[in-house]
Structures are given as structure tokens and as C-alpha cells.
């Protein structure tokens, strides 16, 4: 199985409202794939369609080698696991009771039950906490139990819907470390989030969705495709005639505070030229560095206008 997930022209409408339109992407097996978008962009809807919880209006998809369809739903769901935004634990039951229930739903034989539950809890750092009541756990620990539950069936594809939503920074970091661990185990992870730094840190590739799919690629590819490379220059005092200094190198703009951005095709070869031009103009060079665009810049470039328009 080369591709863990394939979606082709996936569309989902709820009555007159279009939640997802004509979405096409592939996720190779073993990849951590980030699905980014603002609230209401269709991320959860896409996960629900791919996990056969809801039917697509049109388009086709295949997950873990099984076509997404009502008649194949049981087989598909056997090969995947979904961790929903809130872990949805039975708070009156113990951690073990919660996991035992889901092990039963996945048809895990009782002779393997203890081993699987122990391994899942160990994987999320909760070994030995079987008998604690789920309702007595902190939000972060509940999230971990939710993840342990998702690991029980040893899924080929794991859907994580906003796994760090509502968690404090420490708990968020712990969940991110767990996701990193899943990559090492070869699990394909489909991660929906609107935390950009989380996606950048964890994901091999990222898709940005806002009802329609805006872009797919690695964070680096997205930056390259959306932003031309540039150098950032800071001088000891504002240049008297910046055009005379930078025009020969590339398009430039002033960032204020004696700082300038110069667009160049190849930052490495252009940097010495810029340095020489600044010195030749009699200015002191304080800083010269390649301009870095964050994933947030990419995201805002693609989605920011939609969000503003919606307001």
C-alpha cells in the first residue's frame, strides 16, 4: 500500500451549505499529514467522510486500501482509528473499562486484551493508571487516554482531530511528542489542526483547506511556492539613497527602522553583493540574513483574505 489515503474530487454538502468542495489529495503510507484551515473550513467533515461516518455528496476516496463507501465501512473502520477533538471518555468508568470497551468493539480477542491495553497505555505514558476513573483525570491525561484508545487496534491510519485543542502548553507538547512517536512506528497520521507551529513541527506535508483545497506540500515547498526568496538587511542608520544601493540587486522595500527586504533569486550569491553595496554607500551593516517565511505567513496569504471577507 503506497498511498494510505487517496481523495478525488471529494465534495460534501449539508442541505444548501457546502462544507467541502472538490478536494483531491494523496497521503503516502507512513506520513504525518497536516490538514489546516480556519474554523468551519471542512476539516472535521473531511475526516468524517474518510472514516465513513458521513457519505460524500460526490467524489471518491480510499483509505488504508479500502474504498470509502457504506458497504465497505466496517472493513475500513477496522483498519483506522479516529481520535475526535474531545476524547469522549466514559467518565464514570475506569481507564481500563474505557479501553476494554473499545477493544471489544474492534474485536480484539480477550486473550490479547491485557497486553494490548498495557502497551497502549505505556505508549502514552500512562502505564499503571488502569484503575483510575476517567472523570478524575486532568484534560491532558484524558486526551492521552483517548490516544491510547486510538492505538489499541494498531491502526494503519490514525485520524487526529485537533488533538491539542484546549490543552495547556505542557500537555500540548506531550501530545506532540506522542505523535512524533507514532511516525517512528510507521503509522500514517492525518492531523487536523489550526495550530500552525504544531503543523510545521510535526507534519511531513500540509494541506490548507477552506472549503476547497488551497495548497498541498511540505512546509518548505509551500513557502517556496508562495514567497520569493529575499534578504533582510539592517543598517546602522537609514540609507540616504536606498534605491542606489539595492536597485542593482533586486526589488526592495523598506521595513522601517533602518531595515530593508531585497528580493533575490539566489540569496547565497546575492548576499556578498548586498554587503558590498551597503559598505560602498558608507553605511554600517548591522545584519544581513535570508528572509524566512513562517507557515503562518503561508496560511495567512491563502486563508487570511477569506477570513477577513467572512467578517
Amino acid at each position: 500500500m503506497d498511498q494510505a489515503i487517496r481523495a478525488e474530487g471529494l465534495t460534501k454538502r449539508f442541505g444548501p451549505r457546502t462544507a467541502v468542495e472538490n478536494v483531491t489529495f494523496d497521503v503516502p503510507a507512513g506520513e504525518v499529514f497536516g490538514f489546516l484551515g480556519p474554523n468551519g473550513a471542512g476539516k472535521t467533515t473531511t475526516v468524517r467522510v474518510l472514516s465513513t461516518l458521513i457519505r460524500p455528496t460526490s467524489g471518491t476516496a480510499e483509505v488504508a486500501g479500502v474504498p470509502v463507501a457504506e458497504e465497505t465501512g466496517e472493513e475500513l473502520r477496522r483498519r483506522i482509528a479516529v481520535m475526535t477533538e474531545t476524547p469522549g471518555l466514559y467518565l464514570r468508568l475506569t481507564v481500563r473499562d474505557n479501553l476494554e470497551y473499545f477493544a471489544g468493539l474492534y474485536g480484539i480477542p480477550r486473550r490479547n486484551l491485557d497486553g494490548r491495553i498495557d502497551a497502549s497505555l505505556e505508549a502514552v505514558g500512562l502505564g499503571g493508571r488502569h484503575d483510575e476513573r476517567a472523570g478524575a483525570l486532568s484534560k491532558g491525561l484524558r486526551q492521552r487516554v483517548g490516544l491510547a484508545r486510538a492505538l489499541l487496534s494498531e491502526p494503519q491510519v490514525l485520524f487526529l482531530d485537533e488533538p491539542t485543542s484546549g490543552l495547556d502548553p505542557v500537555a500540548s507538547r506531550e501530545v506532540r511528542e506522542l505523535i512524533d512517536g507514532l511516525r517512528d512506528r510507521g503509522v500514517t497520521v492525518f492531523l487536523t489542526t489550526h495550530r500552525l507551529e504544531e503543523a510545521e513541527r510535526l507534519c511531513d506535508r500540509i494541506a490548507i483547506l477552506n472549503t476547497t483545497l488551497r495548497i498541498v506540500g511540505s512546509p518548505e515547498e509551500l513557502r517556496r511556492r508562495l514567497f520569493s526568496s529575499a534578504l533582510e538587511v539592517r543598517t546602522s542608520a537609514p540609507l540616504a539613497d536606498p534605491a542606489a544601493v539595492f536597485d542593482g540587486v533586486g526589488r526592495w522595500e523598506s521595513l522601517g527602522d533602518s531595515s530593508y527586504r531585497v528580493q533575490v533569486p539566489e540569496p547565497e550569491s546575492a548576499a556578498p553583493l548586498v554587503a558590498r553595496a551597503v559598505v560602498a554607500a558608507g553605511a554600517g551593516l548591522v545584519r544581513l540574513a535570508e528572509a524566512k517565511h513562517s507557515l503562518e505567513d503561508v496560511y495567512l496569504e491563502l486563508v487570511g483574505e477569506d477570513v477577513e471577507a467572512a467578517r
Binding site: 461516518l53 458521513i54 466514559y90 476494554e100 468493539l105
Partner: protein, 242 residues
């Protein structure tokens, strides 16, 4: 038993055991309804006329038979909408469990304690009547007809009441509304049971066999219907088939 049905049933029973409302309802509701008819039966003396005796015995038996109808709506009404409210339904729907298995597991988890309470109550009732009531009262409530009627009809009536509760729960957006509607929906059946208990309709063997077979057919049909109503998409989004 299918392991997935067993898993659903065990989980539901564990949850009920830890839910004070469910345990309290299961323990107090039958007793509340049952105590007065039992006392009125015990109060009858040896010279009581036969119609009065039959009326008191009929009332006591009526409560024994309708208790399996009235208990399930409180629990079954919660079964689906309650899970949706507390956010536990969606993770369950992402597993390979079939909807027929899920609803059957939930139904069995309500049926077992309901029938258990009904049988236990009848046993206590018989002991008390044997020890404290006049012989004529004992004769009217302990015949083979009464025993078989309770043994056969208590689970069949309870099952039907459970399916009604589950059907309403799949379509409700509020736990209390689901419970109240479920209780209201089984009232016609309570009336039907009363007709037999008070011998307005004569409970012959043929009528009893026909009634039992009809309830079996209704229960199986209701299981199918509730399974169809249990549409994943509709439960999560209010859109979907059925």
C-alpha cells in the same frame, strides 16, 4: 454471543451500575408503584367478595406486568441522546461495530436488569402473599397461568418498551424529552395489558400464544427499524438517510 454485542452490553451495565440516577430509579420506581396494590391485597379478609378479591389481585398483577414497560424508557431514552450529549457517541461510531450490534447491546443492557427486577419483585410478592394474605388471594396470583404470563410477557413487553425508547432516543436532541416521550409512547400498551389483567378481554391460552408471537414479531421488527434509524450521518449531523 457476538463479542461486539457483549462489549456494548458490559459497558452499558457498568455505566448503569455507577449511575446513581439509574440505580435509584431501578430500585425505587417499581417499589413505589407496587406497594399500594400489595397492601390492598393484604388488607382483604376471608369474607371478601370474589369480585373485590379478583380486582385487588388483578391490580397487583397489572403492576407486575406493566413495570417492565415503565422502567425501560428512563434508561433506554438516555442510551443514544445521552451519549451524544456527553461526546462519547462519535468515537464509538468510528469503530467497526455494526449499528444492529450496537443497538442490540444497548437493548440487552436495559432488558436484563428490567426483567431481573420484575422476576425478583414477583418472587417477593408471592412470598409475602403466601405468608400474610388470605388463601383465596394466594390462589388468584400464583396459578400457572400467572407464572407463565409473567415469565413470557415481562421480557417481551420490556423489549418492546426498550425499542420504543431507543427509537425516540436516536431522534431526540434532549435526554429528558426522550425519556418523557418514551414513557408516553408505551402508555397504549399499558392500557392493553390492563384489559387482560382485569379480564375485560379473556386471557385464554390461544390469545396468550398469539399475543406472545405477535410481540416476538414486533420486537424483531422494532430491532430492525431502530437499527435503520441509527444512521451514523444523521446522528452526527442531523442530515442523512431515514
Amino acid at each position: 454471543m457476538n463479542p461486539r454485542i457483549g462489549a456494548v452490553m458490559r459497558k452499558e451495565l457498568r455505566e448503569y451500575r455507577r449511575n446513581k440516577l439509574v440505580v435509584g430509579t431501578m430500585a425505587t420506581l417499581p417499589a413505589m408503584f407496587f406497594v399500594l396494590p400489595l397492601i390492598s391485597l393484604l388488607a382483604l379478609g376471608p369474607g371478601t367478595s370474589e369480585p373485590t378479591m379478583k380486582g385487588a389481585a388483578g391490580a397487583a398483577l397489572l403492576w407486575l406486568l406493566i413495570m417492565p414497560l415503565l422502567l425501560p424508557p428512563i434508561v433506554a431514552g438516555y442510551a443514544v441522546v445521552g451519549e451524544r450529549d456527553q461526546g462519547t457517541l462519535e468515537p464509538v461510531l468510528t469503530t467497526p461495530v455494526r449499528r444492529e450490534e450496537l443497538v442490540l447491546g444497548k437493548a440487552l443492557a436495559v432488558l436484563i436488569p428490567t426483567v431481573g427486577v420484575a422476576y425478583a419483585l414477583y418472587a417477593i410478592f408471592l412470598v409475602v402473599v403466601r405468608l400474610r394474605a388470605v388463601h383465596e388471594a394466594w390462589r388468584l396470583v400464583s396459578g400457572p397461568g400467572q407464572l407463565i404470563a409473567l415469565a413470557v410477557f415481562a421480557p417481551l413487553l420490556a423489549a418492546f418498551s426498550i425499542w420504543v425508547g431507543l427509537a425516540i432516543s436516536t431522534r431526540s436532541s434532549d435526554v429528558r424529552v426522550a425519556q418523557q416521550l418514551s414513557a408516553f409512547a408505551v402508555l397504549p400498551l399499558v392500557g392493553l395489558v390492563a384489559l387482560f389483567t382485569f379480564r375485560v378481554v379473556s386471557p385464554t391460552v390461544r390469545v396468550a400464544v398469539f399475543g406472545a408471537l405477535l410481540l416476538v414479531v414486533l420486537d424483531v421488527g422494532a430491532w430492525r427499524i431502530v437499527s435503520r434509524l441509527f444512521d451514523r450521518e444523521r446522528l452526527l449531523t442531523r442530515y442523512g438517510r431515514t
